[in-house]
Amino acid sequence: MSGAGFDNLKTLIVEDNAHMRSLLRALLNSAGIKDIAEAANGQAAIEVLRERKSELVLTDLAMKPMDGIEFTRYVRTSEHSPNPFVPIVMISGHTERHRVEAARDAGVTEFLAKPITAQALFARIAEIVERPRAFVRCESYFGPDRRRRLTDDYAGPWRRQNDFQEVDVR
């Protein structure tokens, strides 16, 4: 029996630009993702999350009164968060290194730079479907494992219980 694909997937778009929201909705629709809610900023998105389950979130970074970083932090760490494990794709024109790192440290699953293309958006979603990330919980962070690549010159401490077991850190 074949699966339902994206038929039942509940998605939330958080973006203050109405044109970008329309474009994202249209692109998701073309892949068969139809159950989509929208919010214009992080604060409104939290309200939506409280009332409606969301299994995939696409969020912008720069929004007022609550931006995408703060929203992501809320989703990952608030005791009121309905789903701290929900995949979050941050889509932003703010591609400066420090902003991407801030997004990563807030707990985003994927980062997509604007201008967006259908191919890049679908690749990020495919990555989430195909290779779901492990999560890490420590005093200062909760979110997807930030070590995506194992480098030979990594000089930091190996602190996780599983570090010496076989772990897919890609």
């Binding site: 074949s2 699966g3 474009l23 400066e96 401490p157 996780r160």
Partner: protein
Amino acid sequence: MTGKKQDAAKFIPPNAYPQMLAKRDAAQALKALQSAQTAAKAAVAMQACLAPMREAVLAYVGELERAGSDMTKVFESAHEIRGIAETGGLITVGRLSENLCHYMDAMDRMGRTPDPAVVALHVSAVVRAAKSGEDGMGAVVTAELSALVARKLGGLKAGQP
């Protein structure tokens, strides 16, 4: 050992938390994401958004032009433009705005006020590119302004005024 308490991390593998899709749905979903039919539908969707996106960019360019010396407004407008201009087919407008945002962000991080002349050059180039419908000079102007920004930022980092 320093005696400092380590921030011990707990590792939660993907099979220990609810996934976005059930396994049998995931295969179907991947097929959809990678299919030629989806790509074709997405291309149509992008095409349909082109005209409204372009109109929105032109409205933001108007805001940028009116922002004058208000650097917060300049940055906000330029940021909106860089986000959607290239999607709306205005490649040069997008790249010039990206360059302006990069410059203003770097200056802000250095605790400096952006040079009004550098900002004005970018704003006028964005306005010209938007009004001329990308006249072919865009790549040259973008390259020149990128070099100017690199020189300015490089000079500041090297301690020159």
